[in-house]
Symmetry: C2
Subunit: 286 residues, 2 copies
């Protein structure tokens, strides 16, 4: 049997190896390769794993799993949507696993959910084989737009957004441009005068320089920049950071939170901004 890229046969077992760093490899035992294709943008797999259930793997890096995918998707959506008092138009850039769109759709007051993902094949695979994360997403407010997010935010539109969620993969391959200053400036221009954006900003443990660079870039554009954290078991190191850039609103309103979730609650909305000292030391305070 020919083995797929990133996979190894050991006796009668199949193992997927994630090599996030040269000196650390994480091996997941796989029941079945559910889907494996190369799109114009990246290598896409859905692997059914023993410990985490089905998982979405892009270019060899785990993006989302049935077991813990909700943590990342809830944290990247409900925190900004709790800080904005009345979001109506929401833009998601990336988020091909559809988990972020699913969480955003829990807000009845939101009228428009534009989801701009460069790779339609990721969305199709996730909707078909990773329903634990994607849900059914039949909500008519979700508009799927399959194009490059950096191009989309340069287009003229007759409306602005209240909240923009940048749910990108790591800054390698197709996602590199989603971490650049020019892109963040375009996000600013797509937001209402009280709008805010959030992006995943990598691990403070393994990629502190990246986290600091994102902060620096956002601080040069937005008056309010804040960092919060969550623990995502399938992201290397467990610790994960998110960075907010806001034109006006600064504080969350935990008491207003009333959604049905598996990770986020009032206490988490309060506590996720409390950073350990080694992360505080990475904050730009100027």
């Amino acid at each position: 049997m020919k083995m797929e890229k990133y996979l190894q046969q050991v006796g009668d077992e199949i193992w997927f190896t994630e090599i996030d760093r040269d000196n650390l490899k994480i091996n997941y035992r796989i029941k079945e390769v559910v889907y494996s294709e190369t799109s114009p943008f990246q290598h896409i797999m859905i692997l059914d794993s023993y410990d985490f259930g089905p998982m979405l793997v892009l270019d060899g890096a785990i993006q989302s799993t049935a077991l813990d995918g909700y943590i990342y998707n809830e944290m990247i959506t409900h925190i900004p949507l709790n800080i904005h008092p009345n979001p109506k138009n929401v833009l998601i850039i990336g988020g091909g696993d559809c988990g972020a769109a699913r969480e955003v759709a829990k807000y009845p007051g939101i009228q428009r959910i534009d989801m701009v993902e460069i790779d339609e094949m990721v969305v199709k695979a996730s909707k078909k084989y990773l329903k634990e994360v994607s849900g059914d997403l039949s909500d008519p407010r979700v508009n799927f737009i399959f194009k490059d997010g950096t191009a989309f935010v340069k287009e003229k539109r007759d409306y602005l957004y209240d909240v923009i969620i940048v749910d990108s993969s790591d800054p390698v391959g197709p996602a590199v441009k989603l971490f650049e200053l020019e892109f963040y400036k375009d996000l600013y221009n797509n937001l209402h005068e009280d709008g805010l954006m959030v992006c995943q900003s990598e691990s403070p443990f393994f990629y502190p320089e990246m986290m600091v660079n994102i902060q620096k870039r956002l601080k040069s554009i937005f008056p309010v920049v804040k960092l919060y954290m969550a623990t995502v078991p399938t992201y290397p190191g467990g610790f994960w950071s998110f960075t907010l850039g806001s034109k006006k609103y600064r504080e969350p309103n935990p008491e207003a939170f009333d959604k049905d979730t598996k990770y986020v609650n009032k206490g988490i909305i309060k506590s996720c901004f409390q950073l350990p000292n080694f992360v505080k030391d990475l904050l730009i305070t100027d």
Copy 2:
């Protein structure tokens, strides 16, 4: 070259594989095997790793590393020592890496630090080769007592403890008895009438039954039982739980915290008790 147990030579590289679960293996690239011995209790290694620096490995499981060992050690000590308003006598059971004793020694008001570790070889190796975690530990208040913790807490003594810290390895091998009801009862009897204890209570993600069992046992003995969490990158899944059993005190006093630390601060003391929904669902509320 004969390879040590748990190690593999791949070309000119040495890799250590941690097999916490049958279907998940984590490989760390190693610069050097600094120490490797079999004690009467377990297999002990100090491995100098590329990404985490020196690490203590017992029976193939990482206990502590130079890079992230402070997280666990600060969380298992400063939280109970912040809840107790005036701790004087502290007992540590286990904690062979000496990191917990090092943190406890930061409190000038503490008069006695008894550290009961079954395996003297772990302490010797950590003091010699894992100074990033153990510190120099020259503090004269620290009494090293090399014996079985379950036997120690059955002995008669002319004093009681204010805080007991159970810094055990996983409930396999020598640590099994440190998770049993009888042991917890003995801890209760070794505590002052306003004393409290804490134990590491495993991953809520991978070992929820274990976490629930610890809660159940402590709830049958202590009037106050509380759970808090931290993220430890080198523990599988990242999420880690700690469970407190207290005779009287319930609330932390974050404003009183003034120690020099890398993880814990006032905000963390407040926020570590805020649990995600999937962990709250595992709480016994009776």
